[in-house]
């Protein structure tokens, strides 16, 4: 097919895909007194999307930090130390990525309830601090870089702790960027677990708060709802536009989400 034809087809496909998104933004801006951000202001303070926003932000920050720290430590151990049975253990853990998360939903809820952690930041963060896929990504990256620097530091008498954090950590920047992006996206958009593990308005995250807003009213108030949807999506869309190349590269070659 000619290049122009292919291009036109692609543009048509993209416009078709953008159509519902454009409609969402139009509805969120069209107030009884003309185009304005009124719905945004109302849903922000009364929604209360300001609270949801802060919760989502706190949870994402903690979960990303936890994954970067703990997954790097585990990946470093798996990549650099000979541990008996480690390979088997590693692939066993990796295979659980395929497991539908719903399997542990009920027992995790029971556990959290027993620990008295339901409806707290603990419930929203603790179970998500170590994603096995991140350990896999970092380990693969570690295996591809030589151990010379670490050996040199070791000869200079550096302790394991400072080797990991002063020598290895800085070399991991590219893969940690992928880990941070991947973890932020999954966590920011996560619905099922935060929905089950919290029950007060104060502890809801953006997707959960948004879903509840859509169930609350007797008749659906599209203007406020779409303003809430745009508020929920905006941070990741802005992040996406900034880190576009890295996100597309990282998520399509890392080949999972």
């Amino acid at each position: 097919m000619k290049r122009a034809g292919r291009w036109l087809l692609l543009v048509a496909a993209v416009l078709l895909m953008a159509y519902p998104l454009g409609w969402m933004i139009a509805v969120s801006l069209r107030t009884p007194d003309g185009l304005s951000l009124r719905f945004y202001g109302e849903v922000w303070s009364a929604g209360p999307f300001d609270r949801y926003f802060i919760n989502s932000l706190v949870v994402a920050a903690v979960v990303v930090t936890g994954n970067i720290l703990f997954c790097t430590m585990a990946a470093y151990a798996f990549a650099r130390y000979r541990i008996r049975g480690a390979k088997f253990l590693f692939f066993l853990v990796l295979s659980t990525i395929m497991l539908p998360k719903q399997v542990i939903l009920v027992p995790l809820y029971i556990l959290m309830q027993r620990m008295g952690l339901i409806d707290s930041y603990w419930a929203l963060t603790l179970p998500f601090l170590v994603d096995p896929f991140n350990i896999f990504l970092i380990r693969q990256y570690l295996l591809s870089i030589p151990t010379d620097c670490e050996e040199a530091a070791r000869i200079d008498g550096a302790g394991e702790l400072s080797i990991l954090f002063r020598v290895v950590f800085p070399m991991l920047t590219p893969v940690l960027a992928v880990v941070a992006i991947h973890t932020t996206l999954t966590n920011w958009n996560s619905f099922l677990f935060p929905f089950i593990l919290t029950n007060s308005t104060d502890m809801r995250t953006l997707p959960v708060g948004l879903a509840l807003l859509s169930q609350g009213a007797h008749s659906i108030d599209w203007g406020h709802l779409m303003a809430g949807a745009v508020i929920s999506a905006l941070p990741v869309v802005i992040a996406f536009l900034i880190f576009q190349r890295r996100i597309i590269g990282g998520l399509t070659t890392g080949m999972t989400r």
């Binding site: 692609l10 130390y81 542990i104 939903l105 556990l111």
Partner: protein, 295 residues
């Protein structure tokens, strides 16, 4: 390095502790729950019921409906999404104006929360929404898509294709760009036409990537839940009830944790079987064919 094993312990400790507590333990517990009658309001009366939940599942009309809907969803979306993604990836190859903009636009839906997408389409399908308004402008009659049992599930499926196709197109596009140019030159030398080239060069080289796309999309599609919860809550008349929605209802509305666990394993088993089938089909022949073509 193995002579100093002590760092390993503290390096692995945070991961082992968190993973053990919040994944391994619940996982083992979920297995036990399948054989228990466990009511959270009356934990002291927990009893062992053997295979009773499994027997109940086999005869549960409600589950049959959920299973039918879920299978229809998977079989109706995964091949369509994959084919469209393949077409989009194929259109994207080579130099094109504004290629990065096109790629970004395609990728956009996959960074949105399913909740946002579901609400977006609830509006899209609503009376006075984008779809009905467009139909009206074209002189066609509108429809209440999500309240008609015949159209509710297909409408949600169309939304899923919309939301997923761009991401998979970019995965396949990455695989496209990895095909060596020499293979196409060889095909041209032998006088292969466009279709023959696609069939005998492009498709075999893409098989592993297509297999990957089929597997992750199948696993994801078997878990369809949030869309349904937000858009129809399983209605009208149970026409959009899915397995995971039923799991959620059983556990958190009926508080029947044991039976809910059995449903979770049914989802797990079915998605496992389907992904193995998809992987098998796509893996056949690939290595031999790549080797037989001179690079």
């Amino acid at each position: 390095m193995a002579r100093r094993p002590s760092p390993v312990v503290w390096l692995l400790a945070p991961w082992a502790l968190i993973y053990g507590t919040f994944f391994v333990f619940p996982f083992l517990f979920s297995f036990a729950l399948c054989f228990l009658d466990y009511n959270p309001l009356n934990v002291a009366n927990t009893s062992f019921v053997g295979g009773q939940h499994f027997a109940r599942l086999i005869h549960d009309e409600n589950f049959h409906g959920a299973l039918r809907n879920t299978l229809f969803f998977v079989v109706g979306t995964v091949p369509v999404t994959t084919t469209l993604a393949l077409a989009l990836a194929w259109l994207l190859r080579g130099p094109l104006p504004m290629k990065n903009v096109l790629k970004a636009a395609m990728f956009l839906p996959s960074i949105l929360s399913v909740v946002v997408i579901a609400l977006l389409f609830k509006l899209f399908y609503a009376p006075g929404g984008a779809l009905n308004e467009t139909l009206r402008v074209l002189g066609l009659s509108g429809h209440t898509w999500l309240t008609d049992p015949a159209t509710a599930l297909p409408a949600i499926m169309a939304m899923d294709v919309w939301a997923a196709v761009g991401y998979y197109a970019l995965v396949l596009y990455a695989a496209f760009t990895a095909i060596p140019e020499s293979l196409y030159e060889a095909a041209e030398l032998e006088g292969a036409g466009a279709w023959a080239t696609f069939r005998h060069v492009t498709f075999p080289m893409l098989k592993p990537a297509i297999g990957f796309v089929l597997v992750i999309n199948t696993i994801r599609s078997f878990q369809v839940f949030v869309e349904v919860l937000v858009m129809t809550q399983g209605g009208p008349l149970g026409s959009t009830n899915t397995m995971v929605l039923m799991l959620y209802d059983t556990a958190f509305r009926r508080l029947d944790y044991g039976y809910a666990s059995v449903i979770a394993y049914a989802v797990f088993a079915l998605s496992g079987v389907f992904s193995v089938l998809a992987m098998r089909r796509m893996r056949a022949q690939t290595p031999a064919q790549t080797r037989s073509v001179p690079a």
